[in-house]
Structure formats: C-alpha cells, structure tokens
C-alpha cells in the first residue's frame, strides 16, 4: 500500500555543494560595475577640465589620494576599526537585549501588551536626538557611540521578536500542549526556532541603524572614528575625505549584511530554497 508513495520522487535536503553564481547575476554585477566605472570616469573628466568645482564636489583621483595618505599614515585603518567596533558592539548589545526581552515576554502575556506599547513609543523617539544626552552620560569615547548604536537597534529588535513570539500558530501551541510539554520546552523547541528567521531579518535592518548611531555619535563628540574623520574633513571643505568616509561606511554596511546573510543561511538551512 505504500508502493505508490515510495516511487514518488522527492528532493532530499542534502548539504549543498559550493554555489556558483548564475550567468545572469554575473552579467548584472558586471553592468553595475561598468556603470560605476563610467560615472567615475565622467566625474574625473569633469573635475580635471574644471567643468565642475573640484573643491566643492571632490574627484575620484582626489579620493584615491586621500585614501593613499590615510593608509600610509595609518589613520584610515584605525578609524575604520574604531567605527566597526562601535557599530558591532552596539548592534550586539541592542539586538541581544531587544530580542531576548521581546522573546521572554512570551512567558508573561499580561506584561507583553504594556511592553510592546512601550517599545513602540521608544521606537518613535528619533534616537539621534538623544545623542547629546548619551555623550553627557557616557563621555566622548567609544562608550557613548556603542550605547547610541545599541539604543538605535533595541526597539526594532524588541518589537519584531515580541511579534514573532505572538504570531506562533495556535494549532502548533496546542500540539505541544497535547504532548504535555512544559512552557520552557515550548519556548526552546517552538518559540525560539520559529523566531529565528525574524531575528535575522531584524538583524539585517539593524546593521544600518547601528551604523547611523555610531557615526552620528562620532559627529557629535569624538576624537576618532570614520564619523569623526568625515565631520572634521567636512568642516575643512576636504570633500575627497568626506567621500572616502562615505564609501568605506557603505562597504562596511554591505560586508556586515553579507556576513549576517551567510550566518543565516547556515543556521536557517531548513528553509526551502527559492
């Protein structure tokens, strides 16, 4: 009687081989690169022929020179590392606290509504406006930037994890209860794994928020970091260095997103591939 099922073909979820990029994605990446290169060339020609004011707009060669001198003086690497450290520490603290608190609220349904309202209120605060306050409390070192980044990410993480825990299928909860599972078991074996995809998508959004927190913190008061570098260069009309900072921050955000995605693919490997 099971013959009909046995011959059915099924895809068995095996560990995937190394994934080669598809031809269409190579072509797309290639055209984006070509477009960027073309724009940069155009920009450089315009600046060299004084069609635009190089002082006000900067130029690709100027950015290159800024990068070269920054690298040889060692300031570029140290500024980048400082901002990366502040962003990562803030992201970790904010996401961990927010996600942890949001998920644990599942144990206290009476409190969950109150806490969710509070976190929505918290999320409505323009976190950057808290900058001066944070600087006063935590000083002008890395600490205040970490906390600003943490505050920027906390509310989003909490709101989304509270929702993730609340959105669990009632029938699944009933199934666990019909197996006489304890609440701690339901949390570990049902709530936590179902929340994982939510946690990762929040983490990806929060990379941007954490970066804003740390960089704006550096704008307000700091002695180091890419934000500090950009802010100082801006007030000196050194637009090339400003561009350099922006480019590095963009690359940093892209890299972090990519890393989170890699981790997600590892951990949430059960998800059907599109």
């Amino acid at each position: 009687m099971s013959n009909a099922l046995a011959v059915e073909t099924i895809r068995v979820g095996r560990r995937r081989a190394i994934k080669l990029p598809s031809p269409s994605s190579v072509i797309r990446a290639g055209s984006v690169a070509a477009l960027c290169l073309g724009l940069l060339t155009l920009w450089q020609i315009a600046a060299s022929h004084h069609w635009i004011n190089g002082q006000l707009f900067g130029s690709p060669l100027g950015i290159y020179n800024a990068a070269y001198s920054g690298l040889t003086q060692g300031t570029l690497a140290s500024d980048t590392l400082i901002t990366l450290y502040e962003t990562l520490a803030g992201l970790a603290i904010g996401s961990l606290l927010g996600t942890g608190l949001g998920l644990l609220l599942w144990f206290l349904p009476a409190l969950a509504g109150l806490a969710e309202g509070f976190s929505i209120l918290l999320n409505s605060i323009p976190k950057i406006a808290l900058g001066p306050l944070i600087i006063i409390w935590f000083g002008s070192g890395a600490g205040s930037k970490i906390w600003l980044a943490a505050i920027s990410t906390f509310a989003v993480a909490m709101i989304s994890s509270t929702a993730a825990a609340r959105e669990i299928d009632r029938d699944l909860l009933n199934l666990f209860r019909s197996f006489q599972a304890k609440r701690s078991m339901i949390f570990r074996k049902l709530i936590l794994p179902s929340a994982l995809p939510w946690i990762f998508s929040t983490l990806r959004v929060n990379i941007g928020f954490a970066l804003i927190g740390s960089v704006v913190g550096e704008y307000i008061a700091s002695q180091a970091g890419l934000g500090h570098e950009v802010f100082v260069a801006g007030s000196l009309f050194d637009l090339n260095t400003v561009w350099l900072g922006v480019i590095i921050l963009t690359l940093m955000a892209t890299l972090l997103t990519f890393i989170v995605q890699l981790i997600e693919e590892r951990i949430v490997s059960w998800k059907p591939k599109r």
């Binding site: 009687m1 099971s2 013959n3 009909a4 099922l5 046995a6 059915e8 099924i10 895809r11 068995v12 979820g13 299928d169 029938d171 699944l172 009933n174 199934l175 666990f176 209860r177 019909s178 197996f179 006489q180 599972a181 078991m185 074996k189 049902l190 794994p193 179902s194 994982l196 949430v268 059960w270 998800k271 059907p272």
Partner: protein, 285 residues
C-alpha cells in the same frame, strides 16, 4: 494536570476486574460545556454527554459543522477543562496510566526539523530520547514508506507523506487512544484510503483505540465500529450506531465500502444529520 486527577477518579470508580470486560479507554460522563462570548452571552455547547470508548475500538463522531466536534476533542485531550462532568482516561492493560494523542487536519510538522526529528517530537517533549526510540521511529517511518526521507525536511514531502509523518509522531508516544480530527480531509482520495487502512492496521496490531471526527460519512462507516451522530444545540448524541459489515475478506478502506450494508448505514446517518430526529436515548450510550 486535569487528566491525571481524572485517571485516579476513574480507577476509584472502576468495578472489580471480574465484574465487567476490560475497562474503557475513555469515559465521558455528564460532560457539559459552554462558551461565554465577549458580550457576556453564554452559549451551551454540550449538555450532559455520556459515552465511552472500549479497547481497540474505532469510533467516529459525525455532526454538522458547528456541532462542537473540535471543542469535544479539546475537552477530551485536556486542552480545555470541562465546566461540568468528567473526562476519564482509562489505564493500560498493565495498570499504567493511559495516554491520549491528538492528530489534526494540518500536519503541523516543524519545518526546521527533519522527518525523523519531527517524528520524535512527542517523546522529546516529555523525556530524553533514547537510541531505542530512534530505532523505533526509523522502523515506523520505514513501514509507512518514509524510510528514504527520514533525514529530509518536511517541505520536500507530499501532503500524504507529511500526514504520515504526523501519524508516526502521534503513534510514537504509545497512546492508548488516538484522537483524529479530520486528519485526511485535505488529501486526495487514493492517499486517503491508504491512510484509513493505516489507522485500521494500527488498531489491529497494537489494540489502540481511535476516535475520529469527520464530516465524511463514508469514511466514518468504512473505518468505525461505531458511529455517533452529534446534533442539536446544545449538542447531544442523537444516534449511536454500531457498524456491522458483511465482508468476504479482510476489512479495509475499500472492502468496507463494498459491503452490502454500506449504503443503508450511509442513508441512516445522512438522514440523522439532515433532519431533526426524536432524541431517542438522548445523550446516554
């Protein structure tokens, strides 16, 4: 839990073993339940329901939608506490407490667990899984034609295969009574017949009792020893029909449907579902 206390209550009430046949797997006595809506109106769902399920008996409950079949299951399985009356789970033959397992129309497989891990979930939730459990799970999966996919994730499986994993998960906790809430209604006809056979085989080989809620009268007749028609508001047992089929060979999902009495039972149950019937033997079985 409520069920534990009910078990002891049942054991106290049990007559000496010599007095009667084997104890019922489930005894529902004087069960009444009402829902209170948001505006404070209380709707009575059941009024003094009485029935029992014996060892290795398959009983179907049919009723119009909204008759409270799913609520009844939630009460039996302990997800809801009855407001009045008692649900008592009978002991195993060796005197150990009996156990109810519940299976729904949705397979409710966890997408992040492999087929094998899903099958073991019920055990895992109340004690540590032993190598013997894993072997037993593999054996049972193999018997249901799932041996080759034990390590696949559920999304790779067809609906019928997924429902069989759910059945394996239900059976691995060694239940004395299995509650099936329209478990096959989302499946195609052929797969459905196969799963109906699976359930009947289960009863034959392990003596497990089964309560099936379905709106498919044919399925109820083909599988059951007894069909209960639930109706009215508040719901009571309108009819309790023993199914006796004349079969030439082994009873299975197809041969049962070919029995000469099949149409007759169908007509009788259909009539009971459709029209208001005099409440013969109201609520008492």
């Amino acid at each position: 839990m409520q069920q534990a206390s009910s078990i002891s209550a049942y054991q106290q009430a049990r007559r000496p073993p010599s007095a009667a046949a084997a104890p019922a797997r489930l005894q529902v006595s004087d069960l009444s339940h009402a829902f209170v809506t948001a505006d404070g109106v209380s709707t009575r769902i059941f009024e003094r329901l009485n029935f029992h399920i014996g060892p290795s008996e398959i009983m179907s409950i049919v009723g119009r939608s909204g008759a409270g079949k799913t609520t009844l299951f939630n009460l039996i399985s302990g997800l809801l506490n009855p407001q009045h009356g008692a649900v008592t789970v009978g002991p195993r033959d060796n005197g150990m407490p009996g156990r109810i397992a519940y299976m729904l129309q949705k397979d409710l497989l966890l997408p992040w667990r492999s087929v094998l891990q899903n099958a073991l979930l019920g055990i895992e939730l109340h004690r540590a899984v032993t190598p013997a459990d894993v072997e037993r799970a593999k054996d049972m999966l193999a018997r249901y034609g799932l041996g080759a996919v034990a390590h696949a994730y559920p999304h790779a499986l067809s609906g019928g295969m997924r429902q069989r994993v759910a059945l394996t998960r239900t059976l691995l906790v060694d239940p004395t009574l299995v509650l099936l809430d329209e478990p096959f209604s989302a499946l195609d006809y052929e797969t459905r017949l196969m799963l109906e056979d699976d359930v009947m085989t289960l009863r034959d080989s392990y003596g497990t009792s089964v309560v099936l809620v379905t709106h498919d009268i044919e399925e109820a007749i083909a599988m059951s020893d007894r069909v209960i028609v639930l109706g009215g508001r508040p719901a009571c047992i309108e009819q309790d029909i023993p199914i006796e089929l004349t079969l030439t060979g082994q009873r299975n999902a197809v041969s049962a449907r070919e029995a000469p009495e099949f149409r007759e039972y169908h007509a009788r149950i259909w009539a009971a579902l459709r029209g208001p019937v005099a409440h013969q033997g109201k609520g008492v079985v």
